[in-house]
Symmetry: C4
Subunit: 354 residues, 4 copies
């Protein structure tokens, strides 16, 4: 069943931000799936298929299904007997797996204890990248940067990165690392999709140009909205149906005027995808994020092998995103972030006009 349908040698690899680590344009994430709906043999099947199709990066977090995502991923990797240097493993710390005042956040205590517990669940000596799953305003940045540098010096990770930090927070981490000769983060795991653009496209602009930070994108399909499957309501068995409680806010928002306006746009994108690119709206949405020069990898979720193969078709769509097509997409979306200059005002064109 798991015969690859895509030549793994065609998987494009990119550097993860400024680092020397190469990551595939599409990687596999274990959020909401591994250790929950996807366990045992099906989990193994999906990871095996991913690897056979060129996806050698697997992303998880201590908090994904309360540690079970890491356990499941670790077990599968061990059973498949992959050579450690052939794969890239990333995990994240912040939300913890236990209650209690020190079982989360970015204190030195949780960064060290949390890393050791993640590695135990993964049955590994190290991960490739460890992410701060959120910023922690209750810990001085010096303590955070020192602790992640410590994790790297101990050999428990090769790099560290951030997730959903503000540009100002990333800037401060660089400032501290530079001052103390410590190690700065290399990537930011952020939400980025056609309906969520301000932070990744505008707020981070200075961070990209100053530090060459790369993004590891989550929610590129806007929780499935951009697949077009909600074009005619919430189908039975879809994520919004199965995970009703988790996504209740999102579902409600979808039924608001703004939500209905989004669905209208998805329908137009679906038409564009099918008629002009001979592809699906999913593949278009994924390719659209992947084509961004600051995107290092787009993290895919998958509950079934077919879904993964389906999404990998986006690789062939990337070169089809010509300036003309991109402009048509902007017209449909109507939400292109306005660039700002360093004085915080909109950039003027060469004639001194906005």
């Amino acid at each position: 069943m798991s015969t690859p349908t895509f030549d793994p040698k065609n998987m494009p690899f990119r550097r993860l931000g400024p680092s020397g680590l190469r990551v595939p344009v599409f990687s596999l994430g274990g959020w909401l799936t591994f250790g929950k709906s996807v366990v045992g043999d099906p989990c193994k099947e999906i990871m095996k298929l991913a690897f056979e199709n060129g996806i050698n990066m697997f992303d998880t977090a201590e908090a994904y299904n309360n540690g079970k995502s890491e356990e499941e991923m670790g077990r599968v990797i061990k059973e498949l007997g992959w050579h450690r240097s052939d794969i890239v493993i990333t995990t994240k710390l912040y939300w913890g797996t236990r209650p209690g005042p020190n079982n989360g956040g970015l204190s030195r205590k949780h960064i060290i204890e949390g890393t050791q517990e993640s590695l135990a669940r993964l049955q590994m000596d190290y991960v490739d990248v460890i992410f701060a799953h959120r910023a922690d305003p209750n810990v001085p940045m010096e303590e955070v940067v020192r602790a992640f540098s410590y994790v790297i010096e101990k050999g428990w990770a090769f790099y560290w990165a951030t997730s959903e930090w503000s540009a100002e927070q990333i800037e401060e981490a660089y400032h501290i690392a530079d001052k103390l000769h410590l190690i700065p983060p290399i990537a930011e795991q952020c939400q980025h999709n056609m309906f969520h653009r301000e932070r990744p496209e505008k707020e981070y602009a200075k961070i990209y140009s100053s530090y060459n930070i790369g993004t590891t994108v989550w929610s590129a399909l806007a929780s499935g909205l951009l697949t077009g499957k909600y074009n005619n309501g919430i189908p039975e068995g879809s994520r919004f149906d199965v995970e009703k409680n988790f996504f209740s806010g999102t579902v409600k928002q979808l039924q608001s005027p703004e939500g209905l306006e989004k669905i209208r746009k998805v329908k137009e994108l679906t038409k564009l995808a099918e008629e002009e690119l001979q592809t699906t709206p999913s593949a278009l949405a994924l390719a659209w994020v992947a084509r961004n020069p600051n995107t290092s990898t787009v993290i895919l979720g998958a509950t079934k092998p077919e879904q993964l193969l389906e999404n990998l078709k986006a690789i062939e769509v990337i070169p089809k995103l010509t300036p003309a097509i991109l402009e048509k997409i902007e017209v449909i979306l109507g939400n292109k972030p306005e660039p700002v200059n360093q004085y915080g005002r909109p950039l003027l064109d060469k004639f001194g006009k906005l």
Copy 2:
């Protein structure tokens, strides 16, 4: 018997100084008790009760009962099977456990050897915070800061701190850490109570504002004086009675004119506590220290479980310490430290008057 009488979720947690470590407002210390009058099952009972009531921080020292306090605490924690990240363990080095020229102080030799011996007694791989139990004028500050940074880099502690250091010594530690990119201390374990205020309230003022150092307070009840139990002389079985030799100076001082004046004040405080706050003088005294914004935690001692529960009532007194009540307390005490400005002269008010 050990049914909690206090909802552990009501225990307030604070950051330990500038760090990301969270500590409970009241913690449990092993000075003079663990490994001495409190051993075996009673020790276990008290620690279990403390934990069930939200106290997850346990403080000890190499010198407490010559290492026995650490041994007892380590044994109990192992037997209770607590998850390591759920608790905060602090110990201290300086006084040593053996005679000999290098078995104490803050030389690199004793800091490293002493830490390893403390960890062996505690049966732990690391403590959360390691304190320099006193300053050591015979060791250059660079050697001290380097050695504690080494202990942290080895993974034997997450943070280091000081105990009964002068503001000038703490300042020097920050200076050295800053210059050499080493790790500065985060807390100061000092005596602080209604009768001992100059150092914690005045001498450290600049240290609090410059470095956000937090205090872990010992002797908040002034060796029991503030419980009111010496209001009518030294009762049989009280600490001053049982530990006659250790406290002989204190007892003598109590019978001096200054001592009698203190007892007079305690009687007034007792009246205030009972009549205006419907609480005990102990709870008032503990809450008074705990309410100080620079206090990270107040360390409680306990020889019996009841005593611990009794003292935890102070948590409910903290919000009752209104400005009016605090002013009444100042009137009774009459010992408020005079703030000084940076030129060493008393601060002037906005009209240029003292």
Copy 3:
């Protein structure tokens, strides 16, 4: 059979660049031989003979015969029971031993994973020097210098070095190491022979004078061309014959006008060697590189014990290379690199003339 013919005490030792490590003027390399044509007992015989003749430095690389060179060398050293401090082992990272995006280059991931795999193949806890087998323009220099410093701090190597880096890249490594207080490289493993002089003699001039970098020279015999064995065509069984595919370009180049011109020069050098120095063209060519003050060691290859002994005769030729002889060699070669000053123009003599 392996009776030494050369007194090992006559082997000259030099410091490897600016470091305190002493290396023999001639060392033994495992490129193209160990783990390929030279395995098992013959490999052991050659290494034993080398050691008995004063050669205590052995050079290999992860990529030499895809890891087999390291395995063979490690096995032999273990079997011979040499005392670790008596020998100098060097290996190199960059080309990797497996396919895949992260199994090569100078990312932190490959430097750390690759070092551990090399040490496993060598059955050693550390090597003396680890080389970056090429520069990697896809990895920031800070990541490279940090990762090699990490390898040294972990105790996996005493020093690190470069191979076939440009002077500008070496300069950048020094800049980063100096800025961040990290460890700079000590040597450059470069090609240097009578027909390949621009880089080692001209490009590196500033690097030698600024940092005292030493070279560990490979291809001192220009793939055998300078032995004179191709003076009358490619003999059966020679490297160019046996390794036809690997050297196809070189062989073709040899038959071009430039190649024939080189052979003409080798014939003249052969005459000079035999008539004026009573030695072979090989010994002359080796001595000529070894006499360069920036050469720390010349790496010899050997497929047979006799070959090694033959080449060691070069040691006796070094002192015979008088200024007059060196000038005759320059006349034959006609390719002396023109020195440049810091403005990139030819240096003027003291009369202001070129």
Copy 4:
């Protein structure tokens, strides 16, 4: 037999240079004795007696009897079951224990390999202080300081020190350590006695005042000359008799006019010791070095237990060295080094006179 004759509590302890390590004024060294003339039970007996008399510091070196001194010392300490923190162990690297180009000196290779071999012979995890037994002009100071800092960071030693380095070399080590935030040496093991004063009293003057370096003195008795035992020629069984070859130069020098002049002075010192201080010339000579404020410890050698006890009598002589007595000694010696000011000229007194 080994009943202590001296109350160990009377042993004065001093800080070793600027460090927090306390060393006894008299310590025991293993040069020329341990592992050679003193082995097995006699060695144990001497070390046990030393310890019972307050001497808790034992000094050895990799080169002392080619490693045997370390082996003997390590064996005895293990057999006596001393608590590690009760003793101070020092060893030295430079001369090596094996032939070969990298088995000595101060390269990173020898410092790391040598330390590990010393620790193996001593059967210890660490020594208290590791000395560079000589300076090595063939290794850049940065490599030396980095390597000793590495040894300390690894936990193999608490401090490092120098032996017979010039003031300029020590100054350079401080310069490098300061620039790179590495660890500087704390002591200098130098020859210092009534006939060898220029270096310890004059050359190091600036080093003492700048860095508070302490000395660990060897040869305080000038190879026995100051004991008075050569006052009437070389007696049978004395060190100069037994170790004829090792000391041949010294013995010859003793019979020269300068040597005879020295013996004349020793006779005068003997008279002074006996008549004015009721002690032996040995005790006087030892006390004279020990009383120097820059001396941290004077290392004693001993081949017999009695000899050690005899020498410890010097402790009681120290307070008897009044200014008047010291002046009489200067008159006898006539070799007081002339102090120099920073311009290299003799210091003027307050009236502008020499």
